[in-house]
Amino acid sequence: MITNTKCECGHQNRVGTVLCEACGKPLGEHANSTELLEMRYDGAARRSQRANPNFIDKIWNFFSSVKVAIYLIIITLIGASLGTIFEQESNFINFDPSTFYKEKYGTIGAIYYKLGLSHTYESWWFVLLLVMIGASLVICSLDRVLPLYKALSKQKVRKHLQFLTRQKVVYQGPVEGDGASWTERAVKPLKKKGYRVHTDGDALLAEKQRFSRWGPYVIHIGLIIFLLAVLFRGLPGLNIDEHYWFPEGEITKIPDSNLYLKNEKFTVEYYSEEEMSAEFRETGKIVPKLFETKAVLYECTADCDDPSKEPVLQEVERHDIRVNDPLNYKGFKAYQFDFDLTPKLRSVTPALVNVKTGEQYGKFRLDMTNPQQQFTLGPYTLELKNKFMDFSLNEQGQPVSKSKDPNAPAFLFLIKGPDLPAEGSQYIYFPKQVDKERFQQDAINDKLGGVQNTLSLDVLAMEDVDFIASSSYLNIRVDRVMPFIWLGLGIVMLGLIMGFYWHHRRIWLRIDDGILTLGGHTAKNWFGLRREVASFLKTMGIEVDEKQLDNGGNRS
């Protein structure tokens, strides 16, 4: 069907045009009513409105519809709320989701898990919804912004009378004198109110803050950048998110990088009683004040990739990592995440003592990892033959280690020297007193060769025991797209401020045979526009109540 879209002023309009692009006369079905005008996009046809849509047009039209966009928003909203009913899988690190929900919540939990709602935000349908919202943002904006831009940039000053009388803010009344000179006088007060004024004989168009009309599109652009940034975050290499333990005093390699981090000191601080209010003191609660890891970041400069050599490290960054204050080195970030205050043995420095005479032959340092294997103390040589970090005996009665953590370390030496057999004698040493008793060091040594009657290894002073006091658990992050995330959000905010705190206002007026007809339009805040029009008319000598300017009906 071909509709005649030619206006009486001679302008040829596109299909879907509601108001003539030139003179503003209502077209088609809108022509003969007296209702308020539909002023969206200034009555211009949206790009997608065509006479004969084909397949691609139909898809395009689907996404260009605001109605569809609203449905998408609402479905996303409901979908998102479903994910908050029970906790999401992603909030836990070590657990088995297939049994967790059933055990904790029963049948409902099992159904919840089966429906995939335990990972709502990673599910295909939720991502698809976000993608569709993205598509809708792009297409809706494209479809409207260009026609609106065209319509606003080629406005005619003289509009059709119907265009004026069917605005929401309307005034009609007689004026004294010549129309053109009245219009001329009207320019100054309008300019004073910040309007840009165009006149055409006895017709006038005053307009201000047109840029606020671009607000919604700026918001949409920002959202698109944000969504794209989130999408590209998933690409390999742009995003690292790992958690590692950093024992105090150790330099720990960060996997998949040439960075090393040393936890020089980890501190937990609690509020002192003086820092609490009197009432809070009474509750007896202890509140932590500070979690801090004094960290030094090293970059490897040579021998990095060669496990047979010690890497050459160079300090690149030093930072006290606290909650809310991560270490940041060229986009590589380390966040305070957790800690463990269980002390771990790092080394002991026992002395070799003659049991009978009490003579000491000297001390030696015994590291828990990579210990030295030969020691010479006085007339004796000690050869480290084996070590067990978490000593235990297996079913066959053989010594084994239950883990690699030094919970119950034991060291097996071969000792040679005076009063001992020439081939040496075996001797087991438990640095921890509890282990000595638990595993009966003397009884074992008795079986091994009876060295305990001649010699003993003893830690003589507290400073001969070296502990890793604590470990800090840091979250290691690299997120290369963050600048784009912030850029997108910044643009969204800019658009919001443009669109919501400024209002595009237009006032048209024309004088026909001594009768002034004024129409006003704004996208938001009619109250303000009416007040402005009333105050403008007052300076022109026309007293009118703000409320009387309201043309009634629903506003658009």
Binding site: G134, A135, P255, D256, V400
Partner: protein, 175 residues
Amino acid sequence: MGKARRPVQIIILFIIVILGGYAVSAAVSGGGSGKPAVGDKPPAIKLLGLDGSVHTLEEYKGKAVVINFWATWCTYCVSEMPALQAQWQKWRDQGVVVLGINTGEDEMTVRNFTEQLGVDFPVLYDSDNEAVQSYGVVPMPTTFFVDPKGKIASIHEGELNLATLNDQIRQLLSP
């Protein structure tokens, strides 16, 4: 008007379909947790061996590789060691390599242990747990079977006995 618009529409819809398809497929595949799965190429490693030299997977190109993650304190690792050693003896001439990756223990512990059990297949130190991370190893032992084409054919978590180990290796060699 209108004619130039069609290609623009098609291009935009096309881009949306590509990006959307990528987003949805990434969501379905779990975003690639980084853990290698059957059919993947095994992650590269570069580790110091018990023999004092550095080893990579490149050295074993064209061979079937059995990568076994173990530790001396892990009972099941210890009890499957003889089976691994036996299969290494049996298949080493037919292009099969057994590679033991020790997880984070020091030289003495590993050396004592291998000497005690008579293990002579290549053993590498993963002192910084880098291989454990990149292979996503959680329980120990975990064994990756890599076929001669360089693809992971199967992953086994837990103790292997002589028979299953034998079957797995046979399958690796018969494509």
